[in-house]
């Protein structure tokens, strides 16, 4: 018994190393000086720590820059668009639709439609989205990308919140209807506040998915703030294309900047995230 547990612990440590090493490597690369990056014998524990890959005075981002500083305009776009699509997807579309589907429109096909919306891959819709966004003149704008991001945030919110609403005891809503609240008031004054954890799950997952999205941003945006809506993954991909063989420190620093928000959420919102990721698959 004891022996087995020690073996398991050993395995867990190995798994943890596999999970964390690539992140560790990126972080130390971001903190290394160039002479410690390009060594044929890799340095696993750097001694000379520097922040110059993040910021060196006089360098801004562009072909000549080798630091991550200057990603701010892209970060701003990412933050705005991820927040917009997370909040709109949750409050304006997902929550009312989920409530309608669990309480008023009990039709298997509506549920299936939501599932279908979640399952069509981005690449299969990028062409019509491109055509539509050009047509309505929203290319390279916050609203253009937000509208398109709703194609994954809205169905995911609906799906998640359906699970939360259907777990609510009906009697509280019935009490409210006897107490005199209208159906809409019951929805936003009674039912919505009761699934606050679900709302959190929905916002957090939507935010992470939007923050990390790549293909739509690649096609539908092309300049950073203030002239356009290009998001930070695009900053990174352009940076990779330009600096693939040179400014590894700057690249890694940019990578660190991109993952910081989502990793922080990953650590602090553990409860909500795990619930969101495993929902539907595991019913308690």
């Amino acid at each position: 018994m004891k022996k087995l547990n020690i073996l398991l612990l050993l395995l867990l440590i190995i798994f943890s190393l596999i999970s964390l090493f690539p992140i560790y490597w990126t972080i130390i690369t971001a903190l290394k000086v160039n002479s410690e990056i390009f060594t044929t014998v890799p340095i696993f524990f750097p001694v000379k720590i520097t922040l110059s890959n993040f910021y060196t005075p006089g360098q801004t981002f562009g072909a000549v820059s080798q630091t991550a500083f200057g990603s701010f305009p892209w970060l701003l776009n990412s933050a705005v668009i991820a927040l917009l699509s997370a909040l709109i997807g949750t409050f304006l579309i997902g929550a009312p639709a989920a409530y309608a589907l669990t309480r008023y429109l009990k039709n298997v096909w509506l549920g299936r439609t939501v599932l279908l919306m979640m399952m069509i891959p981005e690449a299969a819709l990028i062409i019509p989205f491109y055509i539509i966004i050009i047509k309505v003149n929203l290319i390279n704008t916050w609203w253009g990308l937000t509208l398109v991001y709703l194609s994954f945030t809205a169905p995911l919110s609906t799906w998640l919140l359906m699970g939360f609403f259907s777990d609510l005891p009906r009697s509280v809503e019935e009490a409210a209807s006897i107490d005199g609240l209208s159906a809409y008031k019951i929805f936003y004054k009674i039912a919505m506040p009761m699934i606050m954890p679900g709302i959190m799950v929905s916002i957090i997952l939507n935010f992470i998915n939007s923050w990390n999205e790549f293909l739509y941003a690649l096609v539908l945006t092309y300049t950073p703030f203030p002239t356009g809506a290009q998001t930070v993954p695009l900053f990174l991909s352009d940076f990779i294309v330009i600096e693939k063989s040179f400014a590894w420190g700057g690249l890694a620093a940019a990578g660190v900047i991109v993952i910081i928000p989502t990793i922080i959420i990953g650590i602090y919102a553990q409860k909500y995230l795990v619930k969101g990721w495993t929902m539907g698959a595991v019913k308690e």
Binding site: P169, E174, I178, D179, G180
Partner: protein, 354 residues
């Protein structure tokens, strides 16, 4: 003014007939209990009165007005749910105030009403708390307060005591009964617990499989259950049921069963019939003469002792008043209080000797 009349009410869920042509009249100020086993349709009937379910067929009148299709909020009914259904994110005060707020009462008026009702229910010191900080009994009082705060003309309760522990439950019975009397509100109370029904009701309707078996006051329900279902369901321990025959012997009527025969002096029947005889344990007496049996179990409860007496293949439960040291397997003689015997037709299951 606030009586409830139910006419030919039928409710189906899909093809599942849950209520079958229900007719009831509930008078103003009555404490009316719907009693029946689980699944008999009590909650459904209550929810139809509240307007939470759609009527399949028939009509409901509240205060003389037909309310088919009227929204719950416009029926002037209030309801207390089994799990209380308090709004978890509101304070106790806001829970009680909400029904008034949505009806456009002024802030002062609301504060005054909430204060009044929380005084009646002794929950003044809980007003700032959230429902989850309350004990079961406290939650129940808050649910009552929320229901009563707007002086509803009909007060509906669906097994509101079943989530309380035994001691609280008995206290709540007394409290609820006097509260209802004080407020004079027409009350419909659903329960599967016959002792609860007996203790509280001014009138009881017994429901089984979606049909009304009997409507009567507690006394009559206990003394003259109109059919075998009610006879067996009401009373604890249950009424003894002995199948047999009513036969005419010259001018006298007799009851003849496999293990016993009784002279039914002074009773009259229309004809000979296959029957089931019902007799409550307290109407069977241990005596020096009568039918001989063997005591198989003894259950001393203190004020009474229950004895199970085996007569041939028939078991008869006997209630003996007081505490007695009786040994199992001893032989006794029992007699029946003849004027308390009930005879039910074997086929129709209806009471013959009304």
């Amino acid at each position: 003014m606030s009586e409830v009349v139910i006419e030919n009410l039928t409710k189906k869920f899909g093809n599942n007939l849950v209520l079958d042509h229900i007719n009831l009249k509930i008078d103003s100020r009555e404490f009316f209990v719907l009693l029946g086993p689980s699944g008999s349709g009590k909650s459904t009937l209550l929810r139809l009165i509240a307007g939470l379910e759609d009527i399949t067929d028939g009509s409901i009148y509240i205060g003389g007005k037909k309310v088919n299709g009227v929204q719950p909020k416009d029926r002037d009914v209030a309801m207390v749910f089994q799990n209380y259904a308090l709004y978890p994110h509101f304070s106790v005060y806001d829970n009680i105030a909400l029904p008034l707020k949505v009806r456009g009462f002024s802030k002062d008026k609301i504060a005054q009403r909430v204060k009044e009702i929380s005084g009646i229910l002794h929950i003044e010191e809980l007003l700032e708390k959230k429902p989850r900080q309350l004990s079961g009994g406290q939650q129940q009082r808050v649910a009552l307060a929320r229901a009563l705060v707007r002086n509803p003309s009909i007060f509906l309760l669906d097994e509101p005591l079943s989530n309380l522990d035994a001691k609280l439950r008995v206290e709540a019975r007394t409290f609820l009964k006097s509260l209802q009397k004080e407020l004079g509100v027409t009350t419909i109370f659903v329960t599967h617990d016959q002792s609860e029904a007996m203790a509280m009701a001014t009138k009881i309707a017994v429901l089984n499989r979606g049909t009304i078996k009997q409507v009567a006051d507690p006394y009559e329900l206990y003394m003259k259950p109109s059919d075998t279902f009610t006879a067996g369901f009401v009373g604890s321990p249950a009424m003894n049921m002995v199948p047999g025959k009513i036969v005419k012997d010259g001018n006298a009527w007799k009851f003849a069963a496999a293990d016993m025969a009784l002279d039914l002096k002074g009773m009259k029947f229309d004809s000979e019939a296959e029957v089931i005889m019902g007799v409550r344990p307290e109407h069977v007496v241990i005596s020096t003469e009568g039918i001989t049996g063997i005591i198989s179990t003894v259950e001393p409860l203190g004020s009474v002792t229950y004895l199970e007496v085996k007569i041939g293949g028939t078991d008869i439960m006997v209630q003996y008043t007081g505490l007695a040291r009786i040994e199992p397997n001893s032989q006794v003689k029992i007699g029946f209080a003849l004027d308390r015997l009930l005879f039910y037709d074997k086929d129709t299951e209806k009471l013959l000797n009304k």
